[in-house]
């Protein structure tokens, strides 16, 4: 929301506030918006033209609450000393249901397909991790290992091929691991954005078009202390989630803190406990902002993420025979009849510390220079079931230091803008000695230095964008070979990327965007040098030093219809061709070890194509009842071998009906409002394209889940209580998901209800 001031001098207690409220997306005035001055509990509604007027006000500090059906209520602070006119933009749109807002106006404002999850939804799901939240978007799924290790998959790509930007900085860590979740507390974010584009060159990394952005917002100029204390309890896993957020603007510095604590015990499938699947997590973040003469804006951000994640005890297997027995077993091995919070091996212990210093300098109205330095420490320990009390000694212990230096220059030109930047990432990754196991990933130092330029321009109804990027990558690697000798490698890569796109405003309600982009990704360290038995997947994985750079060409076509009233639709078709696509190919040989014969997987390359279709449609049956339908379909092909790619999400449909009560109820000193009930359904098809010989067992069947969600606010004069309720897998359906590795051993989570309350002050 943005506001601008127009003012003239006035006398005491005869001041007025007037203004208009405009829909940010459709540019049309919004009527029936409630504007309330909290301090004197005086409120009005906007008229048909979206205007409002409040008079006879004394000078002073006021908080204006702006609320409207379908919008998050907004709070604005105002120092009233003269008559004031406000122009308010509310993010009101039919597509804001479920918190998912299509960023930008319906017209040509954004070139790349992009969708955002807002603050309210994040806060109502204190119990969700980043990946679970993002799953609400079409085209996004999660690759999981159990219920708490989850990483996002966007348009079929994840890990090394999907960049996650945390607070403007590329999230570092052991992203290569399929069972490594991003070390991010979503509660620090005011929004989570997925860019499902052809090429997001500004963000760098190894992205092949898709980028996830986790962003805390600017603190703003609110001089009073505000915050939110939230708590929720989840029945499945008997989980506790708590979060405290506070912020204030002072003349010295604007500050915000965020603390999160979570603790879960064993999850439960419909018929049994999933032993050792609990987790705990504690996170803390401090954000400081200071502006100097409105020219220089500096931000300091420090955060720490700490978690211990249990892995299903029954998923620890010694060899293929164990796996085969597990696959046919009706309940997982080591299943206990009782619930427990206890965590033992196999488990992961992960710490991620983040530091960022960012400065923006406004050279003039139209020119801006930005510099940022970020430092990240990622400490990952994986514990396995071992003999002779060694289960406490990590089987894998990696420590990674990452430094990122960014310089960015932005300039507004006639009907457009230019961005030029440089991004430099330095990683030092080392194995901590003492594990008693030869490392899966070698020690390495890597540096990536890139430059890019992006130009976009409005030409009538058309927005045009063009971008170019070059990166130089250096890898210095120290591996240990099978004769236990240290062998060093030095690699250099040159990566080029380019993208172009146009967005066309067809009418006031329709727009069309076409994007196409080329990008290169050099082979990652694990693909080149990993070597050894991957216990979890019962296979020997071998890197290959002969791998070449991957080359991707992706094209997206997006059509949007926002009628602003009862119907809206977004659809996206994408096609991506990846040359030299790197994947783990099962080899003909099996390798004999003391635990029997293991299949050998080797990183090889092929011609791959990934294409798909995302649809998000919404219809307002009445003012109160809104229906939503989402569908996504992804097709992944290994064109050389004429088979499907593995780990491609199955097609899925999501549907919801939301009923909003368009009125509020007043009780003695409080008002009940924003009462909302949602019924949601998800159907996930069977991934039937994967052949039997491409997996250890048949792919799981299709499944259907249904759930409920409800929330309402109890508004007091100085604070608001919010109550939220969630029922998931209401029918206690037994199911297994193709992208969850735990499916080899156990069913997915059964019924869960969670109940939460938050205090906003």
């Amino acid at each position: 929301m943005f506001l601008t001031f127009f003012a003239s001098a006035q006398e005491q207690c005869s001041l007025s506030i007037n203004g208009t409220v405009i829909d940010e997306y459709t540019d049309t005035p919004l009527s029936f918006v409630n504007v309330t001055i909290q301090e004197i509990n005086q409120g009005v509604s906007t008229d048909e033209d979206g205007t409002f007027f409040i008079n006879n006000l004394c000078p002073g500090h006021y908080h204006l609450s702006i609320s409207h059906i379908g919008c998050d209520p907004k709070l604005i602070h105002l120092d009233l000393d003269q008559d004031t006119t406000l122009h308010l933009f509310l993010a009101h749109t039919p597509v804001s249901l479920d918190g998912v807002v299509i960023a930008g106006k319906s017209g040509a404002k954004n070139i790349q397909a992009k969708s955002t999850i807002g603050k309210q939804l994040i806060e109502d799901n204190i119990d969700s991790n980043v990946s679970e939240l993002l799953e609400r978007e079409t085209g996004v799924t999660s690759l999981k290992n159990g219920n708490n290790v989850a990483k996002p998959v966007v348009h079929g790509l994840f890990g090394n091929r999907l960049t996650i930007m945390y607070n403007g900085v590329e999230q570092a860590g052991q992203q290569w691991g399929n069972d490594h979740s991003p070390e991010i507390d979503p509660l620090i974010a005011n929004r989570l954005t997925v860019i499902k584009g052809a090429s997001a060159l500004e963000f760098g990394g190894a992205n092949f078009g898709s980028v996830v952005l986790v962003e805390p917002r600017k603190i703003g100029r609110e001089p009073h202390l505000h915050g939110r204390l939230g708590y929720s309890f989840a029945s499945n896993g008997r989980g506790h989630n708590a979060n405290l957020k506070m912020q204030q603007f002072t003349p010295l510095v604007a500050w915000r803190i965020n603390g999160t604590f979570k603790r879960y015990g064993d999850g439960r499938a419909p018929n049994y406990f999933l032993n050792n699947t609990g987790f705990d997590e504690y996170n803390f973040a401090i954000q400081l902002e200071k502006s100097f003469k409105d020219k220089l804006f500096t931000e300091l951000y420090v955060s720490t993420f700490n978690s211990r994640l249990g892995i299903l005890r029954g998923s620890h297997i010694g060899n293929l025979t164990d796996l085969e027995t597990a696959l046919t077993s009706s309940i997982p091995f080591f299943t206990e009849p009782a619930f427990s919070y206890e965590l033992e091996a196999p488990s992961q212990e992960v710490h991620h510390h983040f530091f960022k210093l960012n400065s923006k300098y406004y050279l003039s109205e139209s020119k801006q220079l930005e510099f940022s330095w970020a430092s990240q420490i990622n400490d990952r320990k994986e514990l396995d079931v071992r003999r002779s009390g060694r289960s406490d000694i990590p089987a894998l212990s990696l420590l990674q230091y990452t430094n990122t230096i960014d310089v960015k220059y932005k300039q507004t030109v006639t009907e457009g803008n230019i961005k030029i930047g440089s991004q430099n990432v330095f990683i030092n990754n080392s194995n901590e000695p003492g594990t008693g196991i030869l490392p899966l990933i070698p020690n390495y130092f890597s540096a990536r230095s890139g430059v890019y330029g992006i130009l976009n321009r409005n030409i009538g109804n058309l927005l045009f964008e063009m971008a170019l990027r070059y990166d130089f990558v250096l890898q210095n690697v120290a591996t240990i070979n099978s004769s236990r000798e240290i062998v060093n490698y030095e690699n250099r890569f040159h990566n080029l990327a380019g993208a172009t796109g146009i967005s066309l405003k067809l009418s006031n309600t329709q727009s069309l965007s076409i994007n196409t982009g080329y990008a290169m990704r050099n082979p990652a360290i694990n693909e080149l040098y990993s070597n050894g038995l991957h216990q979890g997947v019962s296979g020997i994985e071998e890197g290959s030093i002969d791998l070449n750079t991957e080359r991707s060409w992706k094209t997206t076509l997006e059509y949007k219809l926002l009628t602003g009233s009862d119907f809206s639709l977004e659809s996206l078709i994408y096609f991506q061709r990846i040359g030299n696509y790197i994947f783990l190919e099962p080899q003909d040989e099996v390798r004999l070890t003391i635990r029997g014969a293991f299949p050998v997987f080797k990183y090889t390359q092929t011609e791959a194509s990934i294409s798909g279709f995302d649809l998000n449609a919404q219809y307002s049956f009445t003012n109160s009842l809104i229906g939503n339908l989402k569908y996504s379909y992804t097709l992944g092909n290994d064109m050389t071998n004429d088979v499907s790619l593995i780990n491609i999400p199955a097609a899925n449909i999501f549907n919801s009906f939301t009923y909003r009560f368009n009125k509020s109820w007043s009780f003695s000193n409080a008002r009940i409002e924003n009462v909302e009930i949602e019924w949601n359904n998800r159907y996930v098809f069977k991934q039937s394209r994967v052949l039997e010989e491409q997996d250890f067992t048949a792919v799981p069947a299709a499944y259907f889940l249904t759930g409920l969600r409800a929330s309402f606010n109890q508004v007091f004069s100085k604070y608001t209580l919010r109550y939220f309720f969630k029922l998931e897998n209401a029918l206690d359906t037994k199911y297994r998901d193709y992208l969850n590795r735990q499916r080899y051993f156990a069913d997915d989570l059964g019924r869960n209800f969670s109940l939460g309350i938050s205090l906003k002050f």
Partner: protein, 188 residues
Amino acid sequence: MKSKLFCGWILFSALILFPGCDPDEPMVDNEEELITTVRYILTPIMADGVDVATFSFVDEDGDGGNDPIITVSNLKANVSYSGSIELLNESVAPSVNITEEIEAEKEDHQFFYKSSLSDVTIEYEDEDANGNPVGLMTELNAGIPATGTLTIVLRHEPVKDAPGVQSGDITNAEGSTDIEINFPLTIE
């Protein structure tokens, strides 16, 4: 040279105290838990002139690398042997006796012996503190002359009281496998 220059500019621009552009020297850990060698030694009971038979599996570099070496001896028909099994980690010097680790964690381990020859029987000759078999000591009765296989499995954390497990049937044993070896077996 180019790369040195690049490193220079990295270090300059980063102003960060990296120890340089090189990764940390990796420590080659001793793989303490690795089992490289399994020896099943069969000593004939009351049979003069019959040699001690040894079945061994040696994979000095662990999983991957060079192939393991399997050596076997022929057994004499209708002879009873006293069997003992020995596990070593020979990737380190001096080698580590893993048998002792199993001995110390008897309750959490069990060996399973199975031959494809129905005439060959193998029985447990030892037990843990709970009176369940371990399989470090066994007795093998070679039957009539034939050729087949002998499979030795070591399970970590098996369910020893599951049906059949105490008599050496692995079907319901669960747990995770530490060793699984197939030896060719000849009774002459």
